[in-house]
Amino acid sequence: MKPKVAIFEFGCCEGCQLQLVNLEERILDLLELVDVVPWREARSEYQEGPYDVTFVEGSITREEEKERLKKIREESKVLVALGACAHLGGVNCNKNVFDQNEVRRYVYGEMAEWFPSIPAMPLSAVVNVDYALPGCPIDKEEFLELVKSILLGKKFRLPNYPVCVECKKAQNLCVFDKGLFCLGPVTRAGCGARCPSFGARCIGCRGLVDDPNLEAHKEVMQERGLVLDDVLKKYRLFWGYLEVVR
């Protein structure tokens, strides 16, 4: 029997699921190996759990979602957090610095009470997660690597060095030297230094590398003209749930 794979989502832009659609004809090859149900974004068929592998994108932003996620966890042998929202809380955590009632009032006005919301959090704040695929959005090739590893029972490891390493290999001009503020020195590699390779700065979507030297990075950012509060705001783009920016 083919392994049963499920895809679920919480609060997010669904761009990570879209990367799976973007596998185009290779998705059909993948479907030879696994049975992907349910997948609401692309298919109408539905099958109840348990599932062998479950991919979940998005972060938890409502109290009742915690129960839904716990149920998904119970029904899943392997649970994978798909993308920055599920992995880190991602951009959704930018609302966490505000009073949550004020946030609701700002968007929904007098009707705020109809729309309950809690500070956004990653899946790992609620359940145990077996793998996290980083990035905003995920890299589809890295996704295929992870799927292969799970199916073959191989170990899957993310690179544990910063984006700078890949950026140097790509022979890019250092982003700091262009007057931009880069998070590459402390962000986990694996993207091939995509943003600097397109002339832009790293904004940290893949999360922190293990043991990042944040104090040194903060110093560099401040030497180049930012005040600490501005540095933390840049950290907050994707790392709002982490201790380092609170």
Binding site: E14, N22, R43, S117
Partner: protein, 428 residues
Amino acid sequence: MNVNINVHHVTRIEGHGNIIVKVENGQVKETRWEVPEAPRFFEAMVRGHYYTDVPYLASRICGICSIAHTFTSLQAIENALGIELSEEALNLRKLLLHAETIQSHILHVGYLALPDFLGVPSVVPLASTHKEQLLTVVKLHKLGNEMCDAIGGRTTHPVNTVVGGWTSVPDSSVLKAFQQRLREAVEDVKALAKLFQSLDIPDFKRETEYIALYKDDEYAFYGGEIASSDEARRTPIKDYQKKIEEFIVPYSTAKRARSLRNSYMVGALARFNISYEKLSPFALEIADQFGLKPICYNTFMNNVAQLVEVAHAVEDSIRLIDLLLQKPPKASWYDGKPRAGRGVGAVEAPRGLLIHDYTIDEKGYVVEANMVVPTNENHQNIEEDLKAYLPQLLDKPKEEITLRLEMLVRAYDPCVSCSTHLLEIEWK
């Protein structure tokens, strides 16, 4: 006859939505369109961020039209700071927006809507029954995606499009290669149009207001004025609140909008109805094949209008690449000081009129934000359409009614992650 339908999480749409239908003794008691998706509060969360970081956040509102959100955000900031984009930088933005429109429309027409018309639950079975046609869909989708990737730096969430310009630009060899593939794509679009001509597109008409951007000199996707099918008056983008009223209903987390009537529609059909004369010759040819003329009040024809727009985007991209080869853009962006001000940006996202409105303080931080997103604008029109369509279906079996209502919703190509998220039918 009593029918209660609760379609929870309508599938094959980007997000969550529910259709609630209640029929007692052949009388429709309730027809409701709910969006239960978790709201993400983007308007609140961008506050306090420096203006250069806001477009990166705004992009994350929607994974399917991240380029449209990025450009709308950049435009709002550029308007607030009084920055004028160079002609060639603007042409490159228009090209990248076309690439996203191709990607998004083909995703909807080919992957999400086509299975309905062919009577299958997803695109997967088509691999054996309609292999050739499916490969055409894949080829066009890939072309759009690979253009997004090469020009914007990533298929989803572009990296090099920044305030005042670009941090990198594609080589002329890259542009030439895409131009060649776009020329070849003309035949693929024709083949896809032929397939759709053989399909039974439901005949359903309900008069409504259509709203889209309008420009005198081109089929408007990037900027322009707000135009309506109900009036000759056009509204400058910065005065959008004089044209559009946003409101909220308790059973749905997504905002709704109205203007001259109880509801209005945005998206491909709205643009088609408003800017028909500005379409490229190839797009007009495709429209002709379907006998599609403005004003068309059949929501299901939105699928066809999307195909027509793919034809336009393909042909206009070929033209834009010619311009870019003659006058190549440079990697340059705004490096000056911020200033206090308010700016509104507007772009036609694949799903319709998209507006971002920011107020920036003298230090460059965004302090106020409002965003009007296409699927929200359509929610009320979806509900009105469901109300009008359901009575015409009551003699059909429940399964068929459900499918037809789902197809009607899917025709909007609703993207509820923008509006927050979307589709469940709940037969109650």
